[in-house]
Symmetry: C2
Subunit: 251 residues, 2 copies
């Protein structure tokens, strides 16, 4: 965590090196006091994921779609946890940065970032997933999650998908030279573990128990319904199991 924070906060320190070419303000009505900080989180946190996978033989196997980070991991631990079914898993991890004005207890997931039930009627058809519903208080919409619950690799490795999100939240401070916090330093990080498609939608079917676990996302209404994102509720994830939402707030 020390190294993460150091590398994250360095981006603000380096302001003089990018201030004349900053990422442009975007979205509906930017206030103008914020810098898009997506890459800072993806790099300072994202590239450290692999450090935690020592001993798990991480392999970044090719796939044309999916989240930021993905590693096939293998270990005897996994063989134990799965009661001998498989020694591997495919860790799917996305970094989801937000600032203080967008720090709600949810995050937005694309259809390529959630696994489903994985229906496979015939080899020729390939795998598809049942369509889910993002259930809101005022409205609802279909959610076409596109990731299978597990993959079988060419070498026979059976890799169930484990979907995680890492959510750094940054502060917005004034930029000042010299010592101490300034710019957009790291404030806290949440580690979110989202149920795999089978527990999510088949058994125990968490989505049935908690229909608004997925709720309407951030896309505009004109977006292709097949690609519409959904928000996932941290409160409901915690209710399913408290370890699914872990937050570290920095001193």
């Amino acid at each position: 965590m020390v190294a993460i924070r150091r590398d994250y906060d360095e981006a603000s320190y380096l302001h003089a090196f990018w201030k004349n070419y900053p990422p442009e303000k975007r979205g509906r009505a930017p206030v103008g006091d914020q810098f898009p900080w997506i890459e800072v989180g993806e790099h300072a946190l994202g590239s450290k994921v692999i450090d935690f996978l020592e001993g798990y033989q991480p392999r970044d196997v090719g796939l044309p779609t999916g989240p930021d980070q993905r590693y096939v991991v293998s270990s005897n631990d996994i063989l134990g946890i799965t009661n001998g079914i498989t020694a591997s898993a495919w860790l799917f991890i996305d970094i989801k940065s937000v600032g203080p004005r967008d720090d709600f207890s949810h995050t937005v997931m694309s259809h390529n970032q959630i696994s489903g039930d994985g229906i496979w009627n015939s080899p020729a058809e390939g795998i598809s997933n049942s369509i889910l519903t993002a259930t809101g208080k005022r409205t609802s919409h279909p959610f076409h999650c596109s990731i299978p619950p597990l993959y079988v690799l060419s070498d026979g490795t059976v890799a169930p998908v484990i979907m995680m999100a890492i959510k750094p939240v940054y502060k917005m401070l004034s930029l000042q030279e010299g010592i101490g916090e300034s710019g957009q330093p790291l404030s806290k990080v949440s580690l979110i573990t989202i149920p795999n498609g089978i527990p999510l939608t088949v058994s125990p079917n968490y989505l049935k128990q908690h229909p608004s676990l997925l709720f309407p996302g951030k896309d505009d209404k004109g977006k292709d319904p097949l690609k519409v994102r959904a928000r996932i509720s941290f409160e409901l994830l915690s209710k399913i199991a408290d370890w699914r939402v872990r937050t570290t707030t920095l001193a």
Copy 2:
């Protein structure tokens, strides 16, 4: 290279797992026989970059803009190469995938992927770069490279920028079940080393020696001139030094 190829080609093998949710055809007039393969290269090759940096203490320091992969590396080797000036460098690396119909001896670089001369008149102004020209045979355009030639980190580390591109080229074969190549397997990989902003534009000023080292990019004419990309010529890079373009063709 064996591991890279294996992880790259696995994407085609896994076709049944993504065929119902493929990345959509895009661009001007897609023929329809190709799958966008960007992520395959970024993962199967990109995540292996760090494996080559063992012993160089790679640090993925935060920055709001820049290329795919970036690592501050440190080693006594570097201290030797730079005649004792610094023991560090900031490796900037982009993966630039193309298929057989777009396999030309150049690649397209954004303004956030080329370093410049780094003018710094006063601390308050920050660093900026002289505007370059992408010189074509029929036309030319300004290129506002945005990366400084070097960074000075908060701990005093002086890190000159080393800009590289890794260019995987895939084949387009029919998708067939079972053994052997199918889908979009890796065909060759080029490793491109682009001069840092100082040699590029100050001394020896390669761009002056070879004005069309940078030539017009792929953006439409309406694009903000500050953000317009440029192509970089592999022929001219080779002329500067043959080690700047290294290609491995797979058997």
